[in-house]
């Protein structure tokens, strides 16, 4: 029994189910929370690949910042507009069955997911991203060095992009005040 494979499949199922619930939840808060579950699952996959740094950054940025911001946006929205509780109280299994059978909740997301998975598999089989072995020791140092040397331009472009977004948000907020 390969434990790594088992944990991978478990994590994969969790991620897939959570991702499915993200797009199908009627309550937007639930969608945000399922998103957090999916992102933590992805962090788990990173951990399995011994990319601890990436896993922690994933949790820090996505769960700690992005999901929190989403949640904050939800909380600041008028309650009546977003709170549409699913009133379907009939059995979970049949509800699930009907959901899977419907185009909106079943076919469309599954088809989209399959398409994406096939595309990724195809790209991967074409050796689009060659995988090397994990360098031993600290990962932060080479990462930081390459960000400041090889990938300096993309890094700076991304920073400027974020800065622009921030300035834009401030401008919008100030305009809203007046």
């Amino acid at each position: 029994m390969n434990w790594q494979l088992v944990t991978f499949y478990i994590l994969g199922l969790v991620i897939l189910y959570a991702a499915y619930r993200v797009v199908t939840s009627a309550v937007i808060t639930h969608a945000a929370l399922w998103l957090a579950v999916a992102l933590v699952g992805v962090a788990g996959i990173y951990l399995q690949l011994q990319a601890e740094f990436l896993a922690i950054i994933q949790v820090l940025i996505y769960v700690g910042a992005i999901v929190t911001i989403i949640i904050f946006a939800i909380m600041l929205s008028p309650l009546r507009e977003i709170k549409t509780e699913e009133k379907d109280r009939r059995g979970g299994a049949t509800r699930m069955g009907r959901a899977v059978a419907s185009v909106e909740w079943g076919l469309a997301p599954v088809a989209a997911g399959l398409l994406f998975a096939l595309g990724m598999t195809w790209a991967y089989s074409r050796q689009a991203w060659p995988v090397g072995s994990v360098p031993p020791g600290l990962i932060t140092e080479p990462l930081g060095k390459s960000l400041m040397t090889t990938y300096l331009l993309p890094f700076e472009v991304a920073s400027v992009l974020l800065l622009v977004a921030m300035v834009g948000a401030i401008v919008l907020a100030i305009r809203g005040q007046k």
């Binding site: 309550v27 808060t29 639930h30 929370l33 957090a36 601890e52 740094f53 922690i56 950054i57 949790v59 820090l60 769960v63 700690g64 910042a65 999901v67 929190t68 911001i69 949640i71 904050f72 909380m75 600041l76 509780e85 600290l138 990962i139 932060t140």
Partner: protein, 324 residues
């Protein structure tokens, strides 16, 4: 070791550490609540609890724990069932994870992660998720307001906190908790990075929802904040997490700035506990001195003062390190 094959040995090690951390947090809540009552009493020239467990009232919080254990677990009909039920576990889990990388002594660390500092920051961000789930799931306006304020405070104070931790990482030249402690073998970082310590400590007060930043349960305005609808054991978990995060942030501060387990004569864990609870005491002392600030003051202070200060601190640290 002891004739046990290696994979099983690490499993046993993990289980023992996990149990130790959970038991430590439970005992900590009992001790810290007792300490809080005593400290608040002394500050107000009272004596605090003294009847249950005479003469110092040591059994008062234990009695409270038993009271909580036998209380009914109430869930209102209008709550969001699973969100409501799962919420108390998350802050507690986050605190437990935080202790995973805290060194208790030489080679006494549950998980020697290379990026322990980042790990601490990452897991603390779960806490806000749990409080939000509690606030949202309760379907109660006070709870939601409390959760919203907490989320705002935590977002604002996580940034200066991370930057302060980063300054320590830069000074130590590593993000590994053991390396940080070893780098303080001669001088604790509070002397090298006093500004970072202040920023971290203020931010950690906000992160642990302590007065003057206790917006999660601003009793006088929000009744009790995010955990208002909870009772019994579920409420106890919030309480555990609250005091856990107080002792957790204090433990991190002790490790990063006060030299962790390092100290003369006494063994490492003792020094670690002394330093941690010294900072816990300071937090209590601050709590019973200062009133709660307004939420807009809190955000102003975080974004307009602490964040620039932390950035300046990082810049100065970088320049000094480059020159040395």
């Amino acid at each position: 070791m002891f004739g046990i094959p290696e994979p099983w040995w690490s499993v046993i090690r993990a289980v023992v550490w996990a149990l130790f951390i959970i038991i430590f947090l439970a005992v900590n809540a009992i001790v810290a609540v007792w300490l809080e009552r005593k400290v608040s009493g002394r500050i107000q020239r009272r004596i605090g609890p003294q009847r249950v467990g005479r003469p110092i009232g040591w059994a008062q919080t234990i009695a409270d724990v038993f009271k909580l254990l036998v209380k009914e677990d109430v869930r209102a009909e209008a709550t969001d069932k699973w969100v409501f039920l799962l919420a108390p576990a998350i802050p507690f889990a986050a605190i437990t994870l935080m202790f995973l990388v805290v060194p208790w002594g030489k080679n006494l660390i549950p998980l020697n992660l290379n990026i322990g500092l980042l790990f601490v920051v990452a897991v603390t961000s779960f806490e806000v998720l749990g409080l939000f789930m509690a606030g949202w799931g309760s379907n109660n306006k006070w709870a939601l307001l409390g959760a919203m304020r907490t989320a705002a405070a935590m977002i604002s104070y996580e940034l200066p906190m991370v930057l302060a931790i980063l300054a320590v990482g830069m000074t130590a030249g590593s993000l590994n908790m053991n390396d940080v402690v070893n780098a303080q073998s001669r001088v604790p970082f509070i002397l090298i990075q006093p500004v970072a310590f202040l920023i971290y400590y203020i931010a950690s007060l906000a992160e642990a929802n302590r007065t003057p930043f206790d917006f999660t349960e601003a009793e006088s305005e929000l009744v009790a904040g995010a955990n208002i609808e909870y009772s019994g054991l579920r409420w106890a978990f919030f309480f555990l997490a609250e005091y856990g995060s107080l002792v957790g942030t204090s433990a991190i501060a002790a490790t990063l700035f006060l030299g962790g387990w390092r100290g003369p004569i006494l063994p490492g864990p003792v020094w670690f506990l002394i330093k941690t609870y010294l900072l816990v005491y300071v937090a209590m002392w601050i709590r019973w001195t200062l009133p709660r600030v307004r939420i807009d003051q809190l955000l102003d202070f975080g974004w307009k003062f602490l964040l620039p200060l932390a950035l300046a601190d990082i810049a100065v640290t970088g320049i000094v390190l480059a020159l040395l």
